[in-house]
Symmetry: C2
Subunit: 364 residues, 2 copies
């Protein structure tokens, strides 16, 4: 099949999985569990705002690719999506982000709602914060309870369910939090004090690990094995880790040269927030003294003008930061494809390969 046709088929399959997961999460029984209404709405806010559901998709494809029935893994796919969501809700508070997916972040949306209810400024801010903390907590619990449904509804063995929950609540959470903390620490550190390895390590924690666990869980459910060292489980987990990091590199590229309308968030905000990306790191290494000074005037400067951002963006491009990051992402995907070799040929394997390409070809 030609690449374009293959990608068209893939995107149809991706949308199908996304809808399946959404139907599962939107079924009435969950909604009535969450109370009061403001918490319920906040819990569903990001879930309904159209994420790409790439993590649930890789989980379901991985289950199929090792010969399992993907329908058996639906609660796990839903769980990974919700787990990812609670991390976003709490990270958005910590990163003081106002926007996500074209809408407001949870703490910002409920701050605004409180203003409309005539709360004073400080009280409204605190209300937004409280709703976002609680909504994230509820989502965290919901994700775990969805994993429990694997055994109560889908016949997955309770031992395997306990193993999956344990992976998530020991290894994954601590990687996520370490990644988030490194991100914060790095944004205060001089660019020249960091190595590219440092940045990639941070991306592994913040993004790679949740992709790894999604694929691993799908394969373990598909194979009905508790052995995370099973060769097929390891192959598919490595594949997905690589793709997750490549996804984040593409995200960093789009954060500099993407289309604001498609992205739903302002381009240039990564620069204003002083985010340490491989783009910045590479450009900084290639820059002369004058160029470094110009970049430093913008990096982490929340009041940088549009013009300054435009100039810095052009510099990141001309110094090769963007092309270098694109190359890094391509190499990761190339390696990822190699990791999949032990898998027997199947439609699911093809979907995984297309999914890998999508991770770095997407424009939003």
């Amino acid at each position: 099949m030609a690449h374009d046709t293959r990608q068209a088929v893939f995107e149809k399959e991706l949308v199908e999985r996304r809808e399946k997961i959404h139907r599962y999460l939107l079924s009435g029984e969950y909604a009535q569990r969450f109370s009061p209404p403001h918490i319920r709405e906040a819990v569903y806010s990001y879930i309904c705002s159209g994420g790409k559901s790439l993590r649930p998709a890789v989980l379901l494809f991985s289950c199929g690719a090792v010969g399992g029935d993907e329908n058996k893994a639906i609660p796990a796919a839903a769980a990974i999506e919700v787990y990812h969501t609670w991390v976003l809700v709490h990270d958005d508070i910590i990163d003081r982000d106002d926007k996500r997916r074209g809408g407001l972040t949870v703490h910002e949306e409920w701050r605004k709602k409180a203003v409309e209810l005539s709360y004073q400024e400080e009280e409204a801010r605190h209300y937004g914060l409280a709703v976002a903390i609680l909504a994230g907590d509820v989502q965290h619990a919901w994700a775990i309870s969805l994993l429990c449904e694997l055994c109560t509804r889908c016949g997955v063995s309770p031992s395997l369910v306990v193993r999956l929950i344990e992976n998530l609540e020991t290894y994954v959470i601590n990687s996520l939090i370490e990644g988030e903390t490194l991100d914060i620490q790095f944004s205060r550190a001089p660019v020249e004090s960091l190595s590219e390895e440092d940045i990639l390590k941070m991306l592994l924690g913040k993004t790679g690990v949740l992709y790894e666990i999604a694929a691993q869980a799908g394969a373990m459910i598909g194979l009905e094995t508790m052995d995370s060292k099973h060769p097929l489980v390891e192959a598919i987990a490595r594949f997905s880790t690589n793709c997750g990091i490549a996804f984040q590199l593409q995200d960093d590229i789009l954060g500099v040269i993407g289309d604001e309308k498609l992205l739903g968030k302002p381009v240039g905000s990564d620069l204003r927030e002083g985010k340490r990306t491989t783009i910045i790191h590479h450009a900084f290494q290639k820059a002369d003294r004058a160029q470094r000074q110009k970049l430093l005037r913008v990096l982490g400067n929340r009041s940088a003008t549009e013009e300054e951002i435009g100039e810095a963006t052009e510099m990141l491009r001309s110094l090769g930061g963007i092309e270098h990051t694109r190359d890094l992402a391509r190499v990761l995907i190339q390696q990822a494809r190699g990791h999949l070799q032990p898998l027997p040929p199947s439609e699911y394997k093809e979907l995984l390969l297309s999914w890998a390409d999508y991770m770095i070809e997407r424009e939003f």
Copy 2:
């Protein structure tokens, strides 16, 4: 045995359980899981600051009282303590409390640490907030992973473990959050618009449910049953729910007339925060117009003077609010003792009965 001797024996047993749980939680393998160091210290902050460990104790006693081996339930007891702790850490942010157990709350302690590192005021506040959010999240995950250890280390059946996790992450969390939300809503509502039932319902959500689940989990592990409707499980769960609410009523009493040094938090802060307790509610019903106006000047007034607080406290006493609440607590404990009747006589049953008395006799 005379009441005093019985209580002395009980307190020795309680301390033993507390130390057992602390040893378990402080073992090196967990500590090295949490990173970076600020998060690790924050995760252990409340755990090391000397809580009473009443929830783990009821869980272990319940396991023994139905004929089980309490050592098999240790990870569950540790999990309940940690679960309770994450809720405290996040609630303290939401309630804007500065002090807990004689020390600072997590968000306040790390705000101060940031000030010492010369962060500006607003940045320091945000840092304290970020550490407290993440520490609570890590504790939430840790609690769940401790439950997973029941099957990997203590031979509890994985099906039962999944059931316990599901109870915690569906029923308990949503009750806790509903209770916390009612508490916030009530503190903005006119006292006369609330009924005593409203307040008791809020206490059930905020405190009773976690006690209920602690006892239920202990009994289910002891009986090796997944049936939460088993007569002994139900009996012990009802017993513990009642005791939990009575505990909170005693807490409200101590919040008005307790000894600050023993409590580790300022007496009178409940009044300043406008907390709706059965004490206030009863006193308000008995008060004449002038007395109501005096109470309203203090209730929810964060800048009320010591003298005003003293006068309001005297009024709560003379209008019978304190005695009424003490009676409510006594009746709950009386009923609780009745719930235990189906249990065969044993040392553990005696410990549960002493535990019930302790809940309302304690002075801190």
